[in-house]
Symmetry: C2
Subunit: 359 residues, 2 copies
Amino acid sequence: MVMGFNILIMKTNTYAAQSATTPLAPFNIQRREPGAHDVQIDILYCGVCHSDLHIARNEWHGTTYPCVPGHEIIGRISKVGAHVKNFKEGDLAGVGCMVDSCRTCENCVDDLEQFCEKGPIFTYNSPDKHSGGLTYGGYSENVVVDEAFVLHIPHNLDLAATAPLLCAGITTYSPLRHYNVGKGQKVGIVGLGGLGHMGVKLAKAFGAHVVVFTTSANKVEDALRLGADEVVNSRNENEMQAHLNSFHFILDTVAAQHDINAYLLLLKRDGTLTQVGVPSEPLAVQVGSLIYGRRNFSGSLIGGIKETQEMLDFCGAHNITADIELIPIQNINAAYERLLKSDVKYRFVIDMASLKETP
Amino acid sequence: MVMGFNILIMKTNTYAAQSATTPLAPFNIQRREPGAHDVQIDILYCGVCHSDLHIARNEWHGTTYPCVPGHEIIGRISKVGAHVKNFKEGDLAGVGCMVDSCRTCENCVDDLEQFCEKGPIFTYNSPDKHSGGLTYGGYSENVVVDEAFVLHIPHNLDLAATAPLLCAGITTYSPLRHYNVGKGQKVGIVGLGGLGHMGVKLAKAFGAHVVVFTTSANKVEDALRLGADEVVNSRNENEMQAHLNSFHFILDTVAAQHDINAYLLLLKRDGTLTQVGVPSEPLAVQVGSLIYGRRNFSGSLIGGIKETQEMLDFCGAHNITADIELIPIQNINAAYERLLKSDVKYRFVIDMASLKETP
């Protein structure tokens, strides 16, 4: 089955899930040697996205095991293929949610590889056209990726805190940009977690008046520190009423069931609410919430490679990174349990040096 | 209570509902004499919108009785106030869903009076600032309206068939225009009733490739006759699958509960589905339907006065009217029953001359 594909030769240390119910544990995989257009990245840091947990535990019902999660990867180039143009050994490099796509469909040509009509190749748990198996993610000492899907990392940023930009950063940056959020606009961020806290920082950097909606009283102070101009307790009906018909844009990062109409009604005429959190059950939309005010309810999925680079450059210029808690990889299972309780401010990042300590 | 308002002096014949459960029947109301900015319109034709039935029967829980429905009004100016500028006695005139608004809020200033922040004054069952009572609609021998809310009617169109343009026409024209539907685009129309059949004619006139979705096999031929390029049986999963990811825009006119995700998934990346039918229960939106392809789910409500005039002029230039069944007002209750069974192609219009025959 592997014949006809590139020879697999690098033994690589990772942490992998062997089933939906087993904790992540050390596991050796094989990476391909870099091909002509590939770079090999020695991974320094990898962010822990909630998707990692969903997929490791097969909660989205598409996981093949063993599964090596991780798609917020920061590292340093250790090898380059013969035809690599934009990277050289020793360069900082980042890899986000995708490692390839068809590159020829309308969406790929429009630099929106996340909507590749044939389906993008995700960084882990996606069919790997090189190995014939599945892709393995960033909970790993290294990764080999076509340079077209590798990002340049600004040198002025803290590298560990930069890792979450590769998913949480672009996921919030892309819709804020797409809907032209900026000065003179009132922008809402629903939920203050890994995505929400990036949304606050970015919307503020774009010049918007930022209002955070949260149900956690203990996040108010943090929201203001992160740059919010106002914080609304979304369980307080009077506070919500005071903001009716006033928002140009709302970014909803909540992945749990919630009353979406309560937020749609806060939009001004022609305003847009973009959902980036993905509840597993449908959201009940009262059509009246959309019809009055010609409001829009939309969704957004990470961002294309070109825009991801633009986001990283913007973050470099504005000194924006994630608020993180650095952990050794040996703590990943405990971190997953804390993630389930939203007990992290605001993103776990794995210090991949710890992987070398694995016996 | 009436003191301080204009003197009410014209006795006017109408058909009115006296309660949610009584049939419409002859009833005399009083109209104001035209004020300085008012015109009096002798009504020739009035379309029968499904909203008329909802409100006559208090299905939206806001009806005050007696209720005179009707907001698709075509007639001839019989009197003009001293300061009326744009109309003269004998002119054709139309009145749609609104007869006034605050005229000063952001939305009114932007020619979107339907979204007036203080609430537009609807043509019937709305507080009437002149009488202190409620507005009475077009099932009536005449109506008195501020000229700012009166439309000019193209002379080349059949007048009875033009009446439905005032609600069904603008309700479909406005979103098709707002989302720039035109040549080179594939556009879906969901539901072939009063709204849908206008959507087909207008989308076709804008140059789009028009696909009608219907569950009624007996409407296929009609859809093609009205201008559809294709007709899809929305209950046939294979037919639906064949159109995945292919629509630039979909106009959904269905006011009953239905699976909105089945249509959202037919949109191309960045496509929009606009709901103009208003189901009473919420629609269940799978967030994944929006996130993949960055799709938009939006709503639209009639249109502003300026755009309504633009629509009428467009229909005049392209010879577009509604397909109607002309009825005497004495048949209105029977027509309502047929409306409930979607047994009309595609709009009832009352010939108001029949009102004079009322004993």
